[in-house]
């Protein structure tokens, strides 16, 4: 039975040590068991007094009280004084504990109320924070707008400044031009004043006039006519005739141009019709019926138009022009639609949902592409090898033979020509040599002859001199003439000795 009482005490202890984090309203409840003693006399009975006493002494020892027993001859006798002291100590402890509890309660109340206050202020501050954040955003936005405004205004200001600068430049150039003109006029005015002065002071006035030998006829040979009203009107009519001729010529040219353009438009229209009709028949196997009808209609309508147009092509009236341009526009629209259809079909084929025919055509197309790519590759390789060969030729060192052959082959023709020229040159040289030789021989011969001649002359002179009579002078004169003649002859003989 002490165990159950132990448990009860434990329960009481447990219930009284509830955590203070619970709401304060709960904390007021189960402290009552400490206040009044319920009178639990079931702990100690007459039977278990010694055990109770043992138990109590153990508990008291555990709590730090002195033992309530004193040992007397091995018997545990109850020390009443110490027991009473221990009881008194316990009561003191209890009172202190209650006091502490009350204080703690108060403390807890205060703390919880503080917390409540804090929470309230916290929520208030949060609200304030939200508000201030919003305000901040608003102000930021405003600031951004104002900055954008200032930038735009700066830009405007720059533009205006540039314009002002440009206008200032214009004003400056105009001002300099005006000044220049003004100075020029002033200078001319000055000259005019000077001339006026000169004319007023100058007594001799040089008259102007023309002095001509005789008057010349007009260039066209006609006589000039009197100036009468007839001539005036003739001039006017001539002028208008010239203007009218010009207008006529202009109009004719424009008519020709107009006719040509009309022809071109018609050709375009026919070609467009031609393009549209066969295509519509070949494509669109699914919608065979509809397009055929359409093309039939179209062709029929085109024929009608053409027929009607042939009738009006001669006239260049507004109606015919409008008809033609309208029909061209219609054809063009049809062509555009057709092209759009083709584009759609092409995209479908691309997605893989094509018709059989188009699948085949795509394959054919691909094969063509492959073939072309191969061709391109081949050509590229060819070019590459050619380039390589060229590089080789230019960079690698040749052996003499191939080098000689290679360089020669470029200059072959020139070399041949040169050889021929050299040949002729050599021949001429030989000829000249021969001639020179003959000339030298001739000169030597001449020299010999001259020597002979001189000797003859000398002997002849000697004879003369030896047989001189009073006709010496005469002979001397003849001698002089002869010597002159001889000198001339010498010169003549020596002249062919010019170098070749």
């Amino acid at each position: 039975m002490p165990e159950s009482s132990f448990e009860d005490i434990n329960n009481i202890y447990v219930s009284s040590t509830m955590p203070p984090s619970r709401q304060y309203s709960q904390s007021t409840i189960p402290l009552l068991p400490f206040r009044h003693y319920i009178g639990n006399t079931e702990f100690c009975t007459e039977n278990n007094t010694s055990e109770c006493m043992l138990y109590i002494s153990q508990e008291l020892l555990a709590l730090g009280f002195p033992s309530i027993f004193f040992d007397l001859n091995g018997l545990r006798e109850l020390d009443v004084i110490s027991a009473l002291n221990s009881m008194y100590g316990l009561l003191q402890m209890h009172r202190r504990a209650v006091g502490m509890l009350a204080e703690l309660e108060v403390e807890q109340l205060r703390v919880s109320s503080d917390l409540h206050c804090q929470q309230l202020t916290n929520s208030k501050l949060k609200d304030q924070l939200e508000l201030s954040k919003k305000e901040n955003l608003r102000l930021c936005e405003r600031e951004r707008q104002l900055e954008a405004n200032t930038k735009a205004l700066h830009h405007c200001l720059k533009n205006e400044k540039e314009e002002v600068q440009k206008l200032q430049n214009v004003i400056a150039s105009r001002a300099s031009q005006y000044n220049h003109n003004l100075k020029r006029k002033e200078r001319e005015f000055g000259k005019l004043k000077e001339r006026l002065n000169q004319l007023l002071t100058d007594k001799k006035d040089k008259k102007q006039g023309m002095d001509v030998l005789n008057y010349v006829g007009r260039s066209d040979g006609k006589r000039s006519q009197w100036k009468t009203g007839k001539t005036d009107s003739r001039h006017e009519s001539d002028m208008y005739k010239a203007l009218l001729n010009e207008f006529d010529k202009h109009q004719r040219e424009l008519m020709i141009e107009n006719a040509e353009l009309k022809k071109v438009l018609q050709q375009i229209k026919q070609e467009m019709v031609g393009i549209l009709s066969p295509k519509r028949q070949s494509g669109e196997t699914q919608k065979e019926e509809k397009p055929k009808e359409f093309t039939d209609q179209q062709i029929a309508s085109d024929e009608e138009e053409e027929n009607s147009f042939k009738g009006t092509s001669e006239m260049s009236c507004e109606h015919a022009r409008e008809q033609l341009s309208n029909s061209i526009r219609q054809q063009w629209r049809k062509l555009k639609d057709h092209m759009a259809n083709l584009d759609n079909k092409a995209s479908l084929v691309h997605l893989g949902q094509g018709i059989n025919e188009e699948m085949i055509s795509k394959e054919v197309h691909q094969e063509e592409m492959e073939r072309l790519k191969l061709e391109i590759q081949q050509c590229k390789d060819f070019i590459h090898t050619q380039q390589q060969l060229l590089q080789q030729q230019l960079s690698t060192p040749w052996d003499e033979e191939t080098a000689a052959v290679l360089t020669d082959c470029y200059m072959l023709e020139e070399k041949e020509r040169l050889k021929e020229e050299w040949k002729t040159f050599e021949e001429q040289k030989k000829n000249f040599e021969m001639e020179r030789r003959t000339f030298t021989e001739a000169a030597i011969r001449l020299g010999h002859e001259r020597k002979m001649f001189e000797e003859d002359r000398a002997t002849w002179l000697k004879h003369q001199f030896l047989n001189m009579t009073f006709t010496d002078q005469m002979n001397l004169k003849t001698q002089n003439t002869l010597s002159e003649y001889a000198v001339q002859e010498q010169k003549h003989i020596s002249s062919p000795k010019t170098p070749l």
């Binding site: 206008l167 220049h180 007009r218 006519q225 002028m239 010239a242 010009e246």
Partner: protein, 448 residues
């Protein structure tokens, strides 16, 4: 290509007669008339003073020599060398002198543009035209020679007078809506007269022969306007070159802009071929001279040049003009159509070394020629689409749709080609230097 000898001339006064048979040059106060093919001197005339301006009459029978300082004009006859005619303007002075289209009247503009005197060689009549305007192109004759348009200014307003050249009858006289009329030009068919304002305002007015205003065209306001104007030979197009470096083409049917050609410094259009002149100074000859060089017998120390075609994109060299000066060197200063209407050659003053050739069928650039020196002059062959240009050096440059070639003028001591003009048959070009002239005969048609 053959080159003739070099002859003397002064003042760049050298003109071929309208029938193409004679070449007249002025050397100081002498007038020399030569045969164009043999270049032999046929006639020699002596004027009273240094000749300032010289012009053939339209029938190639008379030559006019004007001496502005003395106020004299002398007319010489080719058929009768001893015929003489002297016009003395007296104290009123002389500023310009020209023939009328019939070759029998001479129009003298007096000093200060006080009046235009019309002297007749057929009779004693003298006509006066008052208030002519002193501007870029104040007087123009129509192509058939029937009408003359004259810009006038009185009471601070611009007028245009149309005269019949037959008897100088005033056909029409009307006011123009311009601030400061700068020029008038007849269309080649003689039915439309183009009149444009000075560069301070972009305004082009088109009048019919009978004085009606056909159309007004103004591309933009305030900035400097029209710099040059050219009609196409068929009168289909009117090309207007302006200071904003663009050429605007007007069509003759609506007189509205057909297209505009922009001279962009970076050329990226693959249809335009850029011909860049490259000068190469030859290396001192070594032993391996090629046979070709020796055969050509070219003077080895001359600067040779040829054309290269650089790959796109190409940057055209731009010279920025001085912004403070009047008449700035920017804008299209020269436009010329080829005779077959197919091509248009233009020169932009801020790209002075380049000539642009535009294809009128495609309405886009077909060639850009970039030279090594500023282009001084270019002219189209009067018979075929061939352009000759010169840059003041010793070379003549030719462009045709087949390609481009540069030819050195083989004259001893150098010949600086400053100007050139074609003979009316298109077979030869007359090259003018500072005081020399040389003829270049286009014997063959081979070009690079």
């Amino acid at each position: 290509m053959n080159f003739s000898e070099v002859f003397k001339q002064s003042n760049q006064l050298c003109k071929v007669s309208p029938d193409g048979k004679y070449l007249a040059t002025c050397v100081q106060y002498r007038l020399v008339v030569r045969d164009v093919n043999t270049l032999q001197i046929l006639q020699l005339y002596t004027c009273l003073d240094q000749v300032a301006s010289m012009e053939w009459s339209s029938d190639s029978l008379f030559i006019l020599c004007a001496m502005y300082k003395r106020g004299l004009v002398q007319v010489w006859s080719l058929e009768q060398p001893d015929w003489h005619c002297k016009i003395d303007e007296g104290s009123i002075g002389l500023v310009s002198s020209r023939w009328s289209p019939d070759g029998r009247h001479i129009l003298n503009t007096t000093e200060f543009h006080l009046r235009v005197t019309v002297w007749s060689l057929c009779n004693k009549s003298v006509s006066y035209i008052k208030y002519p305007k002193a501007c870029q192109k104040g007087m123009d004759f129509s192509a058939d020679g029937r009408y003359m348009a004259l810009a006038e200014r009185r009471d601070c307003k611009d007028y245009i007078s149309v005269f019949v050249c037959d008897d100088w009858h005033l056909l029409r006289h009307f006011e123009t809506d311009t601030q400061d009329l700068a020029g008038v030009e007849w269309s080649p068919n003689g039915c439309v007269l183009a009149a444009w304002d000075s560069c301070l305002e972009y305004k082009m007015l088109l009048y019919s022969l009978d004085g009606r205003l056909l159309s007004t065209y103004s591309a933009y306001e305030w900035s400097l306007g029209i710099k040059s104007v050219a009609w196409s030979p068929s009168s289909q197009f009117l090309a207007i070159g302006s200071y904003d470096e663009k050429v605007r083409i007007l069509n003759h049917i609506t007189w509205k802009k057909l297209t505009e050609f922009e001279h962009h410094p970076t050329i990226t259009n693959s249809k335009a071929v850029v011909f860049k002149e490259v000068e190469k100074r030859p290396v001192i000859p070594t032993e391996d001279l090629s046979i070709q060089q020796i055969a050509m017998e070219s003077s080895l120390f001359d600067i040779q040049s040829k054309y290269e075609i650089p790959p796109l994109p190409v940057q055209v060299p731009v010279v920025k003009p001085d912004p403070d000066r009047a008449n700035p060197k920017i804008g299209i200063s020269a436009i010329a159509f080829s005779v077959d209407n197919r091509y248009l050659a233009t020169k932009n003053d801020c790209m002075p070394q380049s000539v642009w050739v535009w294809d009128m069928q495609r309405l886009g650039p077909t060639a850009v020629l970039e030279q090594t020196a500023p282009v001084r002059f270019f002219a189209w062959d009067p018979r075929r689409p061939r352009l000759a240009l010169c840059t003041g050096n010793t070379k003549l440059y030719l462009w045709s749709p087949a390609g481009c070639v540069s030819v050195k003028v083989p004259v001893e001591g150098g010949f600086q080609v400053q100007s050139l003009f074609w003979h009316c048959s298109g077979d030869s070009v007359v090259l003018l230097g500072k005081d020399q002239l040389c003829l270049c005969y286009m014997a063959t048609d081979e070009e690079k």
